[in-house]
């Protein structure tokens, strides 16, 4: 099982903060997005992380991973 998490404006746009799903074939961050959000392209300026480290959308995910999608950050 992998866990998808959404934050800030992206969470509001999608209407939920978390999705969990089982994957049975190789997937990347972007292909998992497409699987779960077939009606929305992965926005170009959305940042992606796996297990709390930044990755590119081409990063391969595996069961047990936490995959996060969020807008550009604005701390400080």
């Amino acid at each position: 099982m992998i866990t998808l998490r959404y934050f800030a404006g992206l969470r509001e746009l999608l209407g939920h903060s978390m999705v969990q799903l089982d994957i049975f074939e190789p997937h990347t961050v972007s292909s998992v997005w497409k699987l779960v959000n077939p009606d929305f392209k992965l926005p170009e300026n959305v940042l992606t992380a796996v297990n709390m480290d930044y990755v590119l959308p081409s990063h391969v995910v595996k069961n047990g991973d936490e995959v996060a999608f969020f807008p550009p950050v604005t701390g400080g």
Partner: protein
């Protein structure tokens, strides 16, 4: 090297004083550089009455720890402290404190600037402003979303 995420108002000067008091560096440091970020009551021409700071708990601490580790490879810093607010914030309340201790001023100045710039670029925080009109808006650029071509 300490990272603290606070969900209530903090006094940066008390944080610095307490941290420095506990440092086992008496006589070793000659420079302390400090940056404090404070919430304004205006942004982009609008009056702001409050702000909510969201973060990705766990990733925030992980990224800030990595940033500090990267700074230590570039400068001889003796210790550092990062404190960042989350939750509901009002104008004039501190948002962030970055403080660096080193033997000499150049390392403290440069590492403090580096930590702050890297925090702004990489730490997963997001600001949601409440204007005095009660309109709410995310500070980050709009998400370029579009429907997939089915």
């Amino acid at each position: 090297m300490t990272v603290k995420i606070c969900d209530a108002a903090f006094d940066p000067f008390v944080e610095i004083q307490n941290f420095q008091h506990e440092l086992a560096l008496s006589g070793k440091f000659g420079a302390t550089s400090i940056f404090i970020g404070t919430m304004r009551d205006f942004n982009e021409g609008d009056n702001v009455q409050a702000m909510t700071l969201e973060h990705y708990d766990g990733m925030t601490q992980k990224q800030l720890t990595k940033i500090i580790a990267a700074a230590k490879t570039q400068w001889q810093i003796l210790d550092s402290l990062i404190v960042h607010r989350v939750g509901e914030i009002l104008p004039n309340e501190p948002i962030v404190l970055v403080s660096v201790w080193s033997a000499h001023r150049s390392e403290a100045f440069e590492a403090c600037r580096y930590l702050m710039e890297e925090l702004k670029a990489n730490a997963p925080f997001w600001k949601l402003e409440t204007l005095t009109t009660n309109e709410k808006r995310w500070v980050s650029k709009p998400i370029n979303h579009e429907l997939s071509v089915l």
